[in-house]
């Protein structure tokens, strides 16, 4: 299994796709941080005080999880799009193992994206707060839990991407389905008149990872539920789609 995960990590490192997504994450985080610095402290915006630090860690979470999801989708569907599925499955005829290795490798890639985003956010945010004369404690429990949550949600969104693409071979359709679901999920509880439903849906569960509140599940429960969604998709996709004839 280690061999297969290493092979998947090598796949990620040897095309421009993952590098591009990484660069995009860094750039977008920097952009958002700039915007935050410009508007912070204005009426209706977060105050510039030590309490802002945990929020800065997850400042680019929205785009970050979308990038992670796309990276996961590309990692799986690319095999079919480019026909590399044939050599891949010749080396590893048990296709479920390939999907499992992709899940692990892309989860690690998701963690890397989250780390890059957090480093950029804090790299810009800490000097800025210091220049405003705000004393900040970086080794703060809240900051730590946000960092952990950001890494987890990014990793699990990449896993969700693998699951989506295992189920929907077409790259564009799989990405579109993922993004569309995020929108639908926002509306669903209201449409169904079930306000409590949201926390049980994938993105609602994921939200607990980076900001647990009375409206969400606990961080652990949300994380596990969200992981279960991604893994369930990957399992169903492997069983019914990935194992199909490769002609």
């Amino acid at each position: 299994m280690t061999r297969l995960v290493n092979a998947e990590l090598l796949k990620l490192r040897t095309t421009r796709t993952a590098v591009g997504v990484f660069a995009l994450t860094v750039a977008v985080t920097a952009l958002i941080m700039t915007a935050v610095m410009l508007i912070a402290g204005r009426p209706g915006q977060p105050a510039i005080d030590s309490g802002i630090l945990p929020d800065l860690v997850v400042v680019a979470k929205g785009p970050l999880v979308i990038f992670a999801l796309i990276l996961g989708v590309l990692g799986m569907s690319g095999e079919f799009r480019h026909g590399t599925a044939t050599p891949t499955f010749l080396v590893t005829p048990h296709r479920g193992r390939v999907v499992a290795a992709k899940v692990v490798a892309h989860a690690l890639a998701g963690v890397t994206l989250a780390a890059a985003s957090a480093v950029v956010a804090l790299g810009i945010g800490l000097p800025w707060l210091r220049s405003k004369g705000v004393e900040v404690a970086i080794f703060d429990a809240d900051v730590g839990s946000r960092l952990l949550g950001l890494a987890a949600t990014s990793a699990l969104h990449a896993v969700l991407g693998i699951g989506l693409a295992a189920l929907i071979r077409n790259q564009v359709v799989a990405v579109a389905a993922g993004l569309l679901w995020m929108r639908i999920e926002d509306l669903l509880p209201a449409v169904l008149h079930r306000p409590g439903l949201g926390r049980w849906l994938p993105e609602g569960a994921a939200a607990a990872l980076t900001g647990a509140s009375p409206a969400t599940l606990s961080m652990w429960a949300g994380g596990l539920l969200f992981a279960a969604y991604g893994l369930a998709l990957a399992l169903i996709g492997t069983r019914f789609v990935v194992r199909r004839d490769l002609t």
Binding site: A7, K11, T14, G78, H82, F89, L90
Partner: protein, 299 residues
Amino acid sequence: MSAINVHGLSKRFGDVLAVDGLGFDVEEGTVVGFLGPNGAGKTTTLRMLLGLVAPTAGTATFAGRAYRELPAPTRMVGAVLEASGFHPGRSARNHLRVLATAAGLPGSRVDEVLGQVGLADAAGRRVGGFSLGMRQRLGLAAALLGDPGVLLLDEPANGLDPEGIHWLRGLIRRQADEGRTVLVSSHLLAEVAQTVDQVVIIARGRLVAHSTLADLTAGAAAAVRVRTPQAEALRDRLAAGGAAVQLDGPDKLVVTGVTTEQVGRAAAAAGIVLHEMRFERSNLEEVFLELTNHGGNRS
């Protein structure tokens, strides 16, 4: 000991029966041409052997074991398949490094096989810029990565220039000389005739012939062509002896069912002058066409 066993193998794609009760064995250490017109079911058969396509019925194994049951498939079987792909943005070397990593093969094999297929100089280039011939070589490099005892090559000559085809023949021959088993598919008999020990010919998913090349041509129709100013006299003489004779111009005959000796003797006995006589066998390509078209037109 046979290296490849195909038994009662069938595959249905919707309404199309692509492979229909196919059966043949390939002996260890032989080079076998797997022949048939386009659409005969060659690729589907190879993909079933490799576990990429699930058979509707029957089995396709390597010495009795399904591909997915092989403990280290890449070390036992190497395959070049037509639709086998490459990520256009990945270099040739990295493509092979990925496969070697997943297969647990030493990284040194990557440069060895790149050299073997003549791609050492292009190893660092991205595959997107490769010609069809270079991609075919890279596919071969991937197949050779695990130094396997059995090679399955699906139309490996596609996209190769004449020099490349010559090189490919040499490569297949060297693999065979080292005792490897090679099953090489083609829709052109002439392409593999110089390389193979045996042929398995299929049409419409069914086996139509499995023999050595010599046996294949021995069974083919043969004729004696004669040029003589007394064509009609010789015709009557031979026809009386039971041969099938056809006049092919004012001074030419085509005689079947006799040897040149018999024709010569008949001519001498009747005092007939012969200007030319030669024995002619249908060539391989004609035999192949006849076999694969037998039993109606291809759909």
